[in-house]
């Protein structure tokens, strides 16, 4: 009987805590769901964030939980069904936007509330160091004459759609060479087995710094400080303002607003730590921060861009 009363009391208290929400959030540890195996980009950035974030919250900890499988869909689906209390946070990538259409994932992008963005990685056109193409102009001009062989991570990936978008706004022709895993793609480009590749800037940067590859253009609205001589797509005559994959946090729909604000604030404070910025940059990820509202705009913009491409190219399942 005593036990039953204790149980009832704790249930009531839990209810009260739920109602009071952010006042004493977090009351327990928060799971940050990484829908990929340890060692990848999302996992590494998440662990770097958690390291700093855990020094900023008291009484609870953020834990990285890897739920790999199905190219991210398994963990993303799990997060979409989690209790909307702020104790389950998804390390969200742009694939969440396109997976329902491309991979038949059962969730929709509206099942998630954006919390904040911590990394925006624009697409870049890369050629081997030995390539005859010195500028994006030469590259596009050649692609108008005859199709160029372009290495991408796979059909329907963000950078493949970015290539289709280039084809739409110029008259370039690309022959896509889907190659799984960045290591194999690097092998194909460094070995000169393809004419070029579409990569995220973050991965291309380290190899461009050693002059093994050349970046011809960046799909961003401003030039990158590390590559001041590389033009943006628009400067290079490719009329696309931004084509970027993103990494951020989101929570299941229905999570109280003040909890979202708390989490967003935590991500912002983490971003403001100099040690965090240094570590992210060293690992090859440019640290940025956008709050929930601005992250939502980026997600919506990406959804519009990609859904056009998906429909026009017949990629939808």
């Amino acid at each position: 009987m005593k036990k039953a009363i204790a149980l009832l009391a704790s249930c009531l208290m839990a209810g009260a805590v739920g109602a009071a929400a952010a006042a004493d959030f977090p009351a327990k540890d928060i799971d940050l769901i990484v829908p990929f195996a340890p060692g990848g980009g999302v996992d590494t950035t998440s662990r770097i964030i958690v390291e700093t974030a855990n020094t900023l919250i008291e009484g609870a900890e953020l834990n990285v939980v890897n739920r790999a499988g199905g190219g991210g869909v398994v963990g993303q689906t799990f997060a979409s069904k989690a209790a909307p209390d702020g104790y389950t946070v998804l390390a969200m990538t742009s694939s969440v936007v396109t997976n329902p259409k491309l991979k038949g994932a059962s969730y929709s992008i509206d099942d998630f509330l954006p919390v904040g963005l911590y990394n925006l990685d624009p697409s870049v056109i890369v050629v081997p160091a030995s390539s005859p193409f010195e500028t994006a102009d030469q590259f596009i001009a050649a692609a108008k004459q005859a199709p160029l062989n372009i290495v991408i991570a796979g059909i329907g990936t963000s950078h493949h759609m970015g290539g289709l978008a280039i084809q739409q706004v110029t008259d370039a022709q690309f022959n896509y060479i889907p190659t799984k895993g960045f290591g194999q793609q690097l092998q194909a480009v460094l070995g000169g087995h393809a004419d070029g590749a579409l990569w995220p800037l973050g991965e291309a940067a380290n190899h461009a710094k050693t002059d093994s590859v050349r970046i011809l253009a960046i799909a961003s609205d401003a030039r990158d400080e590390a590559f001041p001589d590389v033009p943006t797509y628009q400067e290079a005559g490719i009329d696309i303002e931004i084509w970027a994959t993103f990494r951020g946090w989101s929570v299941p729909k229905g999570t109280p607003d003040d909890v979202v604000t708390m989490l967003s604030g935590l991500l912002q404070k983490t971003y403001e730590s100099p040690a965090y910025k240094k570590k992210m940059s060293e690992a090859g990820y440019k640290p940025v921060f956008r709050d929930a509202k601005s992250f939502k705009q980026i997600i919506d913009g990406y959804a519009v861009l990609t859904s056009n491409i998906i429909e026009e190219s017949g990629l939808a399942k």
């Binding site: 195996a37 340890p38 060692g39 990848g40 980009g41 996992d43 590494t44 662990r47 770097i48 390291e51 990285v64 939980v65 890897n66 739920r67 790999a68 499988g69 199905g70 190219g71 869909v73 398994v74 689906t77 491309l102 991979k103 038949g104 994932a105 059962s106 062989n149 796979g154 059909i155 329907g156 022959n175 060479i177 889907p178 190659t179 799984k180 895993g181 290591g183 194999q184 690097l186 092998q187 194909a188 460094l190 070995g191 087995h193 393809a194 380290n206 190899h207 710094k209 050693t210 093994s212 240094k278 570590k279 060293e282 690992a283 090859g284 990629l315 399942k317």
Partner: protein, 522 residues
């Protein structure tokens, strides 16, 4: 030379060298537990590596990586359950030798071969890394296709018993590898709308099921049969003496050299992996054995305890370890899935593999290189310590208990790969299928090779043809793709030799009515 000294001075800091030794012991244990491999161990370790200095984290990983490739042979020999997929072939002759009461000798051959393969590989990494990295870069889609064909052809020579069943097995593997979203078209194949199958059948649980769970079924049936026949359940083979003699060592030198060479070449090539290396070198060793020793007095048949059958795969799989770091450290391209995890461990400490690592964090880059050499030197005594202490007591446990524990570990290992309970079903079903294949006497090797090479075969074929504009001649173009042409010629030689062998065998069989003294069907 200065840079090598820098590597040694980083490695020989007291904390670092100690951690390397710990890694070697841990790797032997990880390797010798069926169901747990270096991949799973790293995935569990990387989160912790955050909290320790990068020198120590990477030294530990090097130790585990080197030793796991050797440790897999221990249960393969003792109970015919490979601890890792790369000990798959070691189980055949190794366990046969153990059942003849020479388990110690088999283990000793396995460990020595591993150490020799590993040292050869570390020296290659230390001396030839830049040259070999350039060689690896010559492998494009065309060469990768030819390499996959060569890998699949290596198994032909081993199918003297039943060609049809071998082909069926390879087809099972190739077909299973098609599950998942097609890389070429982006459309789903046999996923049955399950999100768990988007990337294909999860590979680690699949392997754990095929060789771990299936072996458990076999052991269970053994125990059951012994019980029913009223006999006491026979114990596991005793380890016994670990000596194997100089004469045998001299005889194995050519096998070690060839297997280590094959392992190093395969290791340097991104995407080829340990399994291809063990099959290629096992095939070569089998040819040599048939030519030189088969049928001689005192010699066992191939597959029934031939020392070459242990030495070749063990020297080859260890030779893949350090050489798989060649493209990773020189170019930033991981040689296989395990060396890819080093990228994660480096990134966590703000380092990126490739040429930049040598300029920005030279002490780490050179420490990793020399650590491979030292890890293999530690491995030899460490393996004998583990054999004499841990293994002796583990394999003294009654068989029934061991079956339960290993089955549990296999399922745990399958689950740990992604923390997904779907994986447990994958492992169980794969185990049942593999056991069924064994009952039907369909060999498992070709299926596993098909599984590993299937995706590479498909994507490299379609991409090579896409680049060539549909021309198949690109694969035998001696000017632009000489490597591909040579590998395909070698592969067809394997087939021709096998076909000639079968023809001679069937002719001998038809002549068998007449007394023949020199026709030994092998």
């Amino acid at each position: 030379m200065d840079v090598i000294a820098l590597g040694f001075s980083t490695l020989f800091a007291p904390g670092v060298i100690l951690v390397l030794a710990v890694g070697v012991f841990a790797g032997l244990i990880v390797g010798s537990i069926p169901g747990i491999n270096d991949n799973i161990a790293f995935a569990m370790f990387i989160p912790f590596s955050f909290a320790i200095p990068p020198e120590q984290a990477l030294a530990l990983m090097v130790g585990v990586y080197c030793a796991a490739a050797a440790g897999g042979a221990i249960p393969a020999i003792m109970i015919k359950v490979p601890g890792t997929a790369s000990a798959l072939l070691t189980a055949v002759d190794g366990n046969a030798m153990a059942r003849q009461g020479k388990a110690g000798k088999a283990l000793s051959i396995a460990i020595t071969s591993s150490v020799i393969g590993g040292i050869a590989s570390s020296l290659v990494l230390l001396v030839f890394a830049p040259t070999l990295a350039l060689f690896a870069l010559r492998f494009g889609y065309v060469e990768n296709f030819a390499l996959a064909i060569l890998g699949l052809s290596s198994v032909v020579g081993l199918l003297s018993a039943n060609v049809l069943k071998g082909v069926i097995s390879a087809l099972i593997g190739l077909l299973t590898a098609t599950v998942g979203f097609s890389l070429v078209t982006g459309y789903p194949r046999y996923t049955f709308d399950s999100v768990n199958l988007i990337e294909g059948i999860p590979f680690v649980p699949l392997l754990v099921g095929l060789f771990g769970i299936a072996a458990m079924f076999e052991l269970l049936v053994d125990i059951w049969n012994e019980r029913r026949s009223g006999k006491a359940v026979s114990g596991l083979p005793l380890i016994g003496s670990l000596k194997f003699g100089w004469a045998l060592a001299r005889r194995l030198v050519p096998v070690w050299s060839l297997s280590a060479t094959i392992g190093n070449l395969i290791g340097v090539l991104p995407g080829a992996g340990m399994l291809m290396a063990i099959f290629l070198s096992y095939d070569q060793a089998a040819r040599r054995f048939r030519r030189r020793f088969a049928g001689k007095p005192g010699e066992k048949s191939w597959g029934e305890g031939a020392p070459e059958g242990i030495a070749a795969p063990e020297a080859a799989n260890s030779a893949v370890t350090a050489s798989s770091m060649v493209p990773l450290l020189s170019l930033g391209i991981p040689g296989n899935s395990t060396s890819a995890l080093f990228i994660g461990a480096l990134a966590i400490h703000g380092m990126v593999p490739g040429p930049l690592l040598f300029t920005q964090h030279g002490h780490i880059a050179w420490m990793i290189i020399v650590a491979f050499l030292i890890a293999n030197l530690i491995l030899w005594p460490a393996a004998f310590i583990v054999l004499k202490s841990v293994s002796r007591s583990v394999f003294a446990i009654p068989k029934e208990a061991l079956v339960g524990v290993i089955a549990l570990l296999c399922l745990l290992g399958a689950y740990a790969d992604g923390a997904n309970s779907f994986n447990i079903w994958v492992a169980l079903i794969a185990g049942i299928v593999a056991y069924g294949m064994r009952l039907a006497q369909i060999p498992l090797g070709p299926a596993i090779l098909g599984l590993v090479l299937g995706p590479q075969l498909e994507s490299s074929l379609s991409n090579a043809l896409s680049i060539s504009g549909g021309s198949w001649l690109i694969f035998i173009d001696p000017v632009n793709h000489p490597i591909s042409a040579a590998m395909l010629a070698l592969a067809s030689l394997f087939w021709l030799l096998a076909i000639y062998g079968w023809w001679r065998q069937s002719r001998n069989r038809s002549l068998a009515t007449r007394p023949q003294s020199d026709s030994s069907p092998s």
